[in-house]
Symmetry: C2
């Protein structure tokens, strides 16, 4: 098994809440392991129901789904805990982070040659590898680096952990750090680090054991942001996107932005989505630009699939200023 799904915690949860039926919500990359959960729950005579919907983060907990099928327990796999979601008292959610069983020491050792010129390293990781944080830290220290890390302002998150939309832990040590290292599959987390801190990031992907600097990705993203913000400054009409996912639901901010846009004689309408994607937005293609109040990563990571500018909350101020001058990358993921 590639991940530790902590069956002992699942067993405890089942006993604690006398679970007979449970909704299993797996992060998208982990849905392929559904049979593991079927088998495990069969041993305890528990009926599993699988959530088939996308699951992007701790902001996206299937509380409504569970209610609709009449269960009051959820096993949510792949994230550390709730992100801006209040779990109601009559709903019990077990979070299984899905710690990766991959030993990342060899990958980190491989990468060390690339960072010889640096001394002060900011070390951060996705939840999947956070249990190896101290090992990596030790390895870096043995090799003469000074390692900085911190905990997010979201106290549900672990020390050294970052998620796509919360990089506050990394920002805290920014002044001390010459180079960040991001330990996570793909480079989604590393891009977050680079945008939030504006510093150089070495991305180490434990699944491929490849490491690379994110400079060229960041450069491209900045060019895209500046281009789209400039276009949005000229836009006459705006669609303001609101997500109905509890952890992404920012209707008050959307209302405020709408009001302010109307004040400067732009048209603006609010569009609410359960799940946003570029194809759905095409149905509202009469707007010149969009403001995204949902997950800020949609506007960044899917930018090439949108046909029009999609700005995040932190970028709206440039519309009112009428200029992209002094653009800061942190605005790309501020919300």
């Amino acid at each position: 098994m590639d991940y530790n799904f902590q069956p002992e915690l699942i067993k405890k949860f089942i006993h604690e809440y006398k679970v007979k039926r449970v909704l299993i919500q797996l992060a998208d990359g982990l849905k392929q392991y559904h049979q593991y959960f079927s088998k495990l729950l069969r041993e305890y005579d528990v009926k599993p129901y699988f959530s088939g919907s996308h699951t992007w983060g701790g902001c996206d907990i299937a509380i409504d789904e569970a209610r609709k099928i009449g269960v009051n327990t959820i096993i949510h796999v792949g994230h550390h805990g709730p992100v801006r979601v209040n779990i109601p008292p009559n709903m019990h959610v077990l979070f299984i982070p899905a710690y990766s069983n991959i030993d990342i020491k060899p990958c980190v050792l491989n990468a060390i040659g690339k960072i010889r010129g640096y001394r002060n390293i900011g070390l951060f990781s996705s939840i999947q590898h956070i249990h190896q944080f101290n090992v990596i830290k030790g390895l870096l220290e043995e090799n003469g680096f000074k390692v900085y890390s911190s905990q997010s302002n979201d106290r549900e998150m672990m020390y050294g952990q970052i998620i796509g939309c919360n990089l506050s832990a990394a920002i805290k040590v920014r002044d001390k750090v010459d180079l960040y290292i991001s330990i996570a599959g793909g480079y989604f987390h590393g891009i977050g680090l680079a945008l939030a801190t504006g510093k150089r990031v070495l991305n180490i992907d434990p699944y491929t054991c490849k490491s690379f600097f994110l400079d060229k990705f960041l450069k491209k993203i900045i060019a895209q942001r500046l281009f789209y913000i400039s276009k949005a400054i000229e836009a006459k009409s705006f669609g303001i996107i609101v997500s109905l996912k509890q952890g992404q639901f920012r209707i008050n901010i959307a209302e405020k932005i709408k009001r302010k846009l109307l004040e400067i004689n732009r048209n603006a309408e609010i569009i609410v989505f359960d799940e946003i994607n570029p194809e759905l937005l095409l149905n509202f293609d009469k707007f010149d630009a969009y403001i995204n109040t949902a997950c800020p990563r949609i506007a960044i990571d899917d930018v090439e699939r949108f046909m029009k500018p999609v700005l995040n909350i932190g970028e709206v101020k440039y519309i009112f200023r009428g200029s992209v001058e002094d653009y800061s990358t942190i605005d790309a993921i501020s919300y």
Copy 2:
């Protein structure tokens, strides 16, 4: 304007419920007209919010969305009324069917040459053209045809109206009819007619003014159904699809099918979706086949986008029989 959005009804609705904020839910093909509603509602000083999610039918009314944004009024455009949905007493929904302004007489006159060999015609239409039903009926009668029609067992539907999953009106006159005529955009409704009745259908699309028989489409669908049912008979494991849309939510049937499959030593798990699509199902691709308890049209119209057999509720019995013998096309859309 291509459609009559009945602004007088909207005005009445606004006054009746003292509407200040309203959720506008447009059927997918009609979302492009959102500006019409913005403009109209601005006149009454009403704040519109647009639903960006897909809207496939009267089974899919954005009651949850409205609740989440704190509004108790919905203007639902493009369908006749609720389909297997109970609208709660504290939610007010105005249905605007969106009657097409296209004059379909010329298209029907054009088509008459193609049906000269027939005498007894079953005439049915989508809601968009139902207001011209009597005109078409008269035209056919003037040309020597005998016209049959009826009303659905769903009394919310109009006389002569069919929807993708409810063809009961057409079935009622089946014995009297030699040929059905379906008046609707595309051929979605016509395919429903053909499957439900097993009779020949002339499809008249008022938007393109083209008419054609659906024989070859039906033949292809039957071949696909037989192929996939045969594969499903051999399947060892089944994913049972449940939609959380109120009008498509059939968890009890899903539970029953699961139980019966387990009894004949097949594996089966229930997967719940807010919105089903082939890409989401790929996350659960370890199943050999799927049973769809949601909208039956998903399994028929999207068949080529699924990688595995997806059977509808009416087709499950063939798994238990172990044979596709005596397959009836009505099973394809029974639920």
